[in-house]
Point group: C2
Chain length 490, copies 2
């Protein structure tokens, strides 16, 4: 294409009859450019050894420079040599890259603690399907002519969640999303279509996708304060609702915040709305259950997420508690709301009420497979194990004199941010300000936690040994009762 469009390949065109056609007479269907190889933009980007690249990939500092396209970590695509089919050099190169990559994945999966992904799965039985381009284009309930889909699995999974969240088959609509963010984007969009002039309320500890949605959709958005636990502060919510009584309310309720794993009190949110004079036809609640949406039903005392309450939609991630090799999620809403979204069919030129068009058809099969294997009872056991192990971790951190908090309904243990970035990176901890967290998922065993605890306690003794630096006070983040700093630990 670049600078070499003049040479034309020899004509090998198929039969051309005398019929008039819109193609110009001189068109040669095989007129592809002869030298398609674009010039290399940067010549010094020659292929170096993989390990050297991996070495480069380790960031020297954690500083993030916005708007700077960092190429620290890049495996360049290389053009095969002309005689490659004979030498097999390219295949050998790729095989070696993949083998090394696999090794790093094994290692990183072993030390992973900070993100809520259940890495404990075995989908060997499904590897036979990897060779198909499975695509659930558009609406799961509207047949497409594209035959290579997995809608029958998708609808089975949706029905399972509909039953969990207590909504009849003919009253819900939903689909399997690409991730928790898509669920939030969809839920909030449905809310906005139901209440075009509605104000979006979300606690400030909501996932950033909620605020991204507000900006994308050009919605007015009001941030609500949180309690120390991370839950929405309904006193502040009330003040803000009363200040905007003239407009309908669209509320994002967190079933597990990203950082602290806090579960907003759904019943109190509804009660607050009612107390402020919002009747059920003047608010829309989206429940962001990305993290704990699948755990809550199995935890006693948890505010029950159910469509018997006046909620509009629920989303949950599939790759988190369920475990799945690729990100995915489940989104369920009421059929009546989707009819509002789909009403402008002529304009959209489609009845498709999903955010995406082409949709990964493998994810529903992974979910279907796991739900069948584990069943409700299997998930119950795993929830039990996670809560137990989370308490184990929190208790041992506190015993070691480290500030730590665990919300009642959560398996997210929040604690003092380790001082050494190397340690944070090794254990892949998610950090924010002075705090870090471990999300105890089914693949996080007591053995793994012991390894982590031992290493943390040993390393930490060196960070603060000379007394020149003190561990930070976390009273603002975890409350006085959980803070182990010099001032509060008495």
């Amino acid at each position: 294409m670049v600078g070499a469009v003049e040479n034309v390949m020899a004509s090998v065109s198929g039969k051309v009859n005398g019929a008039v056609e819109i193609l110009r007479g001189d068109f040669d269907s095989t007129a592809v450019v002869a030298e398609p190889l674009p010039p290399v933009v940067e010549d010094n980007e020659s292929l170096r050894d993989f390990e050297e690249k991996e070495e480069d990939a380790k960031p020297k500092s954690r500083e993030i420079v916005l708007g700077n396209n960092v190429h620290t970590s890049c495996l360049a695509v290389t053009e095969p040599e002309v005689n490659d089919e004979l030498t097999g050099d390219q295949d050998a190169y790729m095989a070696s890259v993949l083998a090394r990559y696999r090794k790093t994945l094994v290692d990183r999966t072993k030390h992973h603690l900070g993100y809520p992904y259940n890495l404990d799965f075995d989908y060997g039985a499904l590897s036979q399907l990897q060779h198909f381009s499975i695509n659930n284009l558009g609406d799961p309930f509207i047949e497409s002519n594209y035959g290579v889909h997995s809608r029958q699995f998708e609808v089975g999974v949706l029905d399972w969640f509909a039953r969990l969240w207590e909504i009849e088959k003919n009253e819900y609509w939903g689909y399997i999303t690409n991730c928790g963010t898509e669920g939030n984007l969809h839920g909030i969009l449905v809310g906005r279509e139901v209440f075009p002039d509605g104000i979006l309320y979300a606690s400030k500890e909501s996932h950033y996708s909620v605020f991204k949605a507000a900006r994308m959709y050009r919605m007015e958005c009001v941030k609500v304060d949180t309690l120390t636990s991370g839950e929405i502060d309904c006193a502040d919510f009330k003040v803000k609702l009363l200040a905007n009584k003239d407009k309908p309310a669209i509320i994002n309720v967190n079933i597990g915040t990203t950082v602290k794993g806090a579960v907003d009190d759904l019943d109190l949110v509804i009660q607050t709305l009612e107390e402020c004079g919002f009747s059920h036809d003047r608010f829309y609640i989206h429940c962001d259950g990305a993290l704990f949406g699948l755990m809550m039903p199995f935890v006693k005392r948890a505010p029950k997420v159910t469509f018997k309450k006046p909620i509009g939609s629920v989303s949950v991630s599939g790759h988190k508690f369920v475990g799945c090799p690729m990100p995915c999620g489940v989104q369920i809403t009421r059929m009546e709301h989707i009819n509002v979204l789909s009403s402008n069919v002529e304009y959209l030129a489609s009845r498709d009420a999903t955010i995406m068009g082409s949709r990964n058809g493998h994810a529903p099969i992974f979910l279907w497979y796991t739900l069948n294997r584990k069943g409700y009872k299997g998930f119950q056991k795993e929830v039990q194990k996670c809560l137990r192990n989370a308490h184990y971790l929190k208790d041992h951190l506190r015993e070691a004199g480290i500030s730590a908090m665990l919300n009642e309904l959560s398996s997210t243990v929040v604690f003092e941010r380790p001082k050494e970035e190397e340690f944070v990176r090794k254990w892949q901890l998610a950090c924010q300000g002075n705090i870090a967290h471990v999300v105890v998922m089914p693949n996080v065993t007591i053995d793994k936690l012991d390894d982590f605890l031992n290493e943390l306690i040993e390393r930490r003794s060196t960070w603060y040994q000379d007394g020149s630096v003190q561990p930070p006070c976390l009273v603002a983040e975890v409350g006085k009762e959980n803070c182990a700093c010099a001032l509060h630990n008495c």
Copy 2:
């Protein structure tokens, strides 16, 4: 969870020390509900034989009832029996479902013609990676602490496309999306952030995701007429631009429309903008190259898509011409535009400029693998083959007296819609009104086309044999020169 939250499992909680905590004293970390199995909402949904379900799955009619949650095709998730670990019944059931499903996939893949997916791939070497939860959370150029990612592959793929579209490494930003729709959603969002009061212009044959974006983003949208070929009609575009001279223009340019595979003339679009007095700082062009974005660079005379022209973004699908088991795409834009999008970091609480948060880390590896294997030269050969085969199909359709059109730069053959829905379904043809199309991808061989042609010609002779019905006139859809109806075929 349902109606049985009273019973508490026996306490097996871990060590609890005396530290004060925000948990209530009576909290039992293992207090999971004893009977988590929700009641079945519909009892008659007992598990039937898979084949019977598959039978049900075949729609009796093509009628689509909007807002009706059709469960014609559903593989219910079933709860494992208590003694399942002994009997293995559940595993046996799942294995049989999957084996049969695989068989239908093989069959459907064989007869697939209507959708632009290259089903010709072999990713056996990558099956070793299926066991990892690979997630490229957020921005590909900003390191995350989550270690199980494939950013190094992703950046390699992006660099390859940046080189193809002639933009320097330090001047572009991009990411691997979940599908072509996400690319359009992103490109149009960037355009809107650059020109908050801009008007979106798109030809009426643009993909529906473009109009979905306009509605999502609350943008003013002007539909532009098309020529018979399906290309944007720049005369109409000019009239509409002149009517809205006071507002910046955001233009969606199709590099291959969905139905006719028409390629908008990028140069003429730019020229029209200039003629109407729009300087380069008053318009933003997004190129929707979902279908042909990867083919165009290899076709002589095609309007060249390059960042040396005043365009803002380009997107392409990864599962179409490249071929990939799951939907994916590539989105490239200018770094300067992303800085606008990311400017409101405090509000978004994230530097993430992607639409999604969690992102499938397997897709970049599939793309990287194919780009390495095929290289620019491999793609050139495949483009050549597709164009040749598309001409073969079009010519043979016309020879058989069937209305058919093939755009000069396209491998999408548009023709008379087959009268029999069974035939349409078997070959998975995409239809619109009186026309259907076949998109000739690298996996569509002459043999496959011959099978298709023979069957079509044979079946068609029965549809119109008694003369009571005539084949439809397609002059409006494909032009007089391509119409084979009784009136125009003389």
